[in-house]
């Protein structure tokens, strides 16, 4: 039996004016288990707290009920005070007689009666309360960053700067991501490579950072502070340590007809390759789909010419097991497939290209050496049509996306402007639905494209692109001039919508991190916790969370790093003790609770139990990881046998409150 003290607060006149506090205290004093009652002007004051603490000591209280303002206000205050006096924090309950009683009622008699009932409910709950202690778990002081684009790079650098070890897992042979393919960046027009490659080198040279390129996350176990991850290092058939990156092999390889994915298939590379000159790590990789040696066992040219002896045709996928305290998802984006947009003739004409392809064509390191030439005949295009919102802002019934891809307006303006600057004889049309330029110096940039560079911005969407001889007939409407246009363009550039990388979905499953219907990772809170996943210990950086441009990606990456650092700084994590727990003797192991847990806090194990008939039986039972559980209680209702219950809000506690209220 608990020894409960009841403390009724006047809150000046806030409560006392409408609730007869003395009557409440006396009525509650008669309840079974209540050994002490008192009313006081301001329970939250120093003096009030001392009263609570004294009563705990003098009357050997095991629990307390404070009838006062909302628990959202002072629950923590009173719990802390009680803890100081030697009573577990969770033995204190608040009856909210201000916000939910005195302030909303005028009739004193009515309000007093209600206050007594609320107090009774709190007393009934305290009777069933048990001291709770938050669990503690150690933190592995190492972070994993999944994805080596600009988001991953920035996050890794920031974390490493704080003195923590970071591993980057990148599925491509080099880090750098989409930004490495981009020519110039808006709105400053500085060269992407010039600002990115130093960062890549910095990553490579940072002692705290390890890069696992050409690798993928294979398995994730554990929870915040204690993840254990298995990383698959795909066989690149080249010894990373021995390879000097001299590139000789990539010149001598006889297999020349491999589409170069770095240039989006606009030119070709060899079967052994280094994606681009500034690749990090600068190590060759053999493409097993094209290498003659790997396919037929005949060739071996690269092996013969490699002076470092780095070629190893027998290399196999290997696995690395590592422990991490935090995991950052930076899986990035891809432009969507445009094959289904027949009206834009993307798959019919090589001269209809995506904006990313346009970047490669205009990039000095690209297939054309930076000269703007048509892919079909290598001629210089005189009339270029840019089409915005291809696959963005659709109603979701077709192959497009419902969201705005955010970056297209700005990079299209950039492309248009650069084209006009380099080739003033080229006519440039941009078809838009809206031009969206929120961002520092963004609108000015767009206006410059129109005003200084004479780019034709036309409000209206392109209806159809018809390849006709060497020309592309573009039929579009000009909504403002109310006319239909037919433009004989030489090149059509489509601003394709961007979507999360395909690897994100299986990764989310591994991480038990939630995703929205578009496969973007969801934030713990859209406004207040935008760089965290609801799953504790999982953080979000860059476009995996939503479309973003580079400055925004970098700032989010740093924000994400700050959150990770905040976590890794701590030696121990103290959980919320009000978490779910399963009564293993009653658990069926049916997995229902696991399916409704948004945090992946529930796992199953086969355990041996001694049955009543003295036999041993192995049973599958659920166990909740208190470090991961956030205490929502979804599992407690999903569990039909009631084996799952929630500390602090147990079935019996809530029912006791119900009983007290309905009396």
């Amino acid at each position: 039996m608990q020894r409960i003290g009841v403390f009724v607060c006047w809150c000046g006149s806030n409560i006392a004016a409408t609730v007869d506090v003395k009557a409440v205290a006396e009525a509650l004093g008669k309840e079974p288990g209540v050994v002490y009652f008192e009313d006081y002007q301001y329970m939250c004051s120093e003096e009030g707290q001392t009263k609570l603490q004294n009563a705990i000591r003098d009357y050997k209280l095991t629990g307390a009920v404070v009838c006062s303002c909302s628990p959202r206000m002072h629950e923590a205050t009173f719990r802390k005070a009680a803890a100081k006096a030697g009573v577990n924090s969770f033995m204190v309950e608040i009856a909210n007689i201000r916000e939910q009683c005195s302030w909303i009622h005028k009739n004193k008699e009515e309000a007093t009666e209600k206050a007594i009932i609320l107090g009774r409910a709190a007393i009934a709950k305290v009777h069933l309360n048990a001291p709770l202690t938050a669990g503690e778990s150690p933190v592995t002081k190492r972070a994993l960053v999944i994805g080596g684009g600009i988001a991953g790079i920035q996050t890794a650098l920031d974390i490493a700067d704080a003195g923590f070890e970071v591993d980057i897992v990148e599925k491509k042979p080099t880090i750098g991501g989409k930004m490495s393919q981009i020519d110039k960046t808006f709105p400053t027009l500085d060269c992407a490579a010039c600002i990115l490659t130093p960062k890549m080198v910095e990553v490579a040279q940072n002692e705290k950072i390890r890069i696992f390129s050409y690798s993928e996350v294979d398995k994730v176990q554990g929870f915040v502070g204690n993840f254990s991850v298995s990383i698959r290092r795909k066989a690149r058939f080249v010894d990373e340590v021995k390879c000097t990156g001299c590139g000789l092999c990539t010149e001598k390889c006889p297999q020349k007809k491999v589409p170069n994915e770095f240039n989006l298939g606009l030119d070709q590379r060899r079967a052994i390759y280094i994606p681009f000159a500034q690749a990090v790590p600068k190590v060759a990789t053999i493409d097993p789909d094209y290498c003659t040696m790997l396919k037929t066992g005949k060739c071996g040219v690269c092996s013969k010419i490699c002076t470092a002896g780095a070629i190893d045709y027998k290399q196999k996928d290997s696995f690395i097991e590592e422990k991490y305290g935090a995991i950052v998802v930076a899986t990035g984006f891809n432009p969507i497939e445009l094959n289904k947009y027949d009206e834009f003739a993307y798959s019919q004409s090589p001269d209809v290209i995506t904006s990313l392809e346009f970047e490669r064509i205009t990039n000095a390191a690209g297939p054309t050496g930076g000269t703007l030439l048509r892919p079909s005949d290598g001629e210089h295009p005189k009339k270029i049509v840019f089409v915005q919102c291809v696959g963005s802002r659709e109603d979701g019934s077709g192959c497009g996306k419902t969201y705005c891809s955010k970056i297209c307006c700005m990079y299209t303006a950039k492309h248009a402007m650069l084209t006009r600057e380099k080739y003033p004889d080229t006519e440039v049309y941009v078809f838009y639905i809206d031009v969206r330029t929120p961002g520092k110096s963004f609108d000015e940039f767009y206006r410059r494209a129109v005003e200084e560079y004479g780019v034709h911005y036309i409000k209206g969407m392109v209806g159809k692109v018809i390849p006709q001889g060497k020309k592309l007939m573009v039929r579009a409407s000009d909504l403002i001039d109310r006319k239909q246009l037919l433009i004989d363009a030489d090149l059509v550039v489509l601003a394709a919508a961007i979507e999360p990388d395909k690897s994100a979905r299986p990764l989310a499953t591994m991480l038990t991190a939630s995703m929205d219907t578009n496969d973007f990772f969801t934030e713990a809170h859209p406004k207040l916790r935008p760089v965290e996943s609801p799953t504790a210990g999982i953080f979000l950086s860059g476009c995996c969370q939503g479309p973003k441009d580079i400055p925004e990606t970098v700032s989010q990456a740093s924000a994400c790093a700050a959150k990770v650092i905040g976590l890794l700084c701590r030696d121990k994590l103290t959980g919320n003790p009000c978490v779910a727990h399963s009564d293993e003797l009653m658990c069926n192991g049916c997995s229902t609770c696991e399916k409704v847990c948004p945090y992946g806090a529930i796992t199953y194990q086969d355990k041996e139990f001694r049955m009543p008939d003295r036999t041993m039986r192995t049973r599958r039972v659920a166990s909740v990881n208190p470090a991961v559980c956030q205490g929502c209680g979804a599992c407690t209702v999903a569990c039909p046998s009631g084996a799952m219950d929630l500390h602090g809000f147990s079935n019996s506690q809530i029912m006791a409150e119900v009983d007290a209220i309905c009396k």
Binding site: R72, E99, C101, C632, G633, V658
Partner: protein, 146 residues
């Protein structure tokens, strides 16, 4: 609560999630928005913590109406809790109605932390509806009053 012939005062149990609706109820207090004292609130971490057993228990013990309030769909503090609540309560309420329990005695409302006014309005309306309906006879347990 005394039942007298002049005015029937229903007992109403409101389950409010800690993050939105309980805060919404607090806000309606802070703004001094009145609603009847018949409503007694029980704080739960999330609307998905509310077990159908609790609702039936309330009716058994003499509640005349039970209302469940949670964050708006999509705003759940625990991301998905209220979506589960919505499915569970849809089925439960439909079943209670199927058994002939007056459908007006149960309600699920989404009240955010900013919707103090909505909370008060909802409670006023719910109390009025249940008052009109009269005492809960179909799901009460007469033994409780012994």
């Amino acid at each position: 609560m005394q039942v007298n012939e002049e005015k029937f005062e229903p007992t109403i149990v409101a389950f409010c999630c800690n993050w939105c609706s309980y805060a919404g109820a607090d806000l309606s207090g802070t703004n001094r928005l009145q609603y009847p004292a018949n409503v007694k609130i029980i704080r739960v971490p999330c609307s998905c913590r509310v077990n159908p057993m609790f609702i039936l228990r309330a009716f058994q013990r003499g509640a005349d109406g039970v209302i469940l309030c949670g964050c708006h769909p999509g705003d759940c503090h625990y991301t998905t809790g209220n979506y589960f609540t919505r499915r569970r309560m849809t089925l439960l309420f439909s079943m209670l109605e199927f058994l002939g329990i007056e459908k007006e005695r149960t309600r699920l409302e989404w009240v955010s932390a900013a919707e103090g006014a909505k909370f008060a309005a909802t409670m006023n309306d719910f109390v009025a509806t249940v008052t009109k309906l009269g005492k809960n006879r179909r799901l009460e347990d007469l033994r409780c009053k012994k």
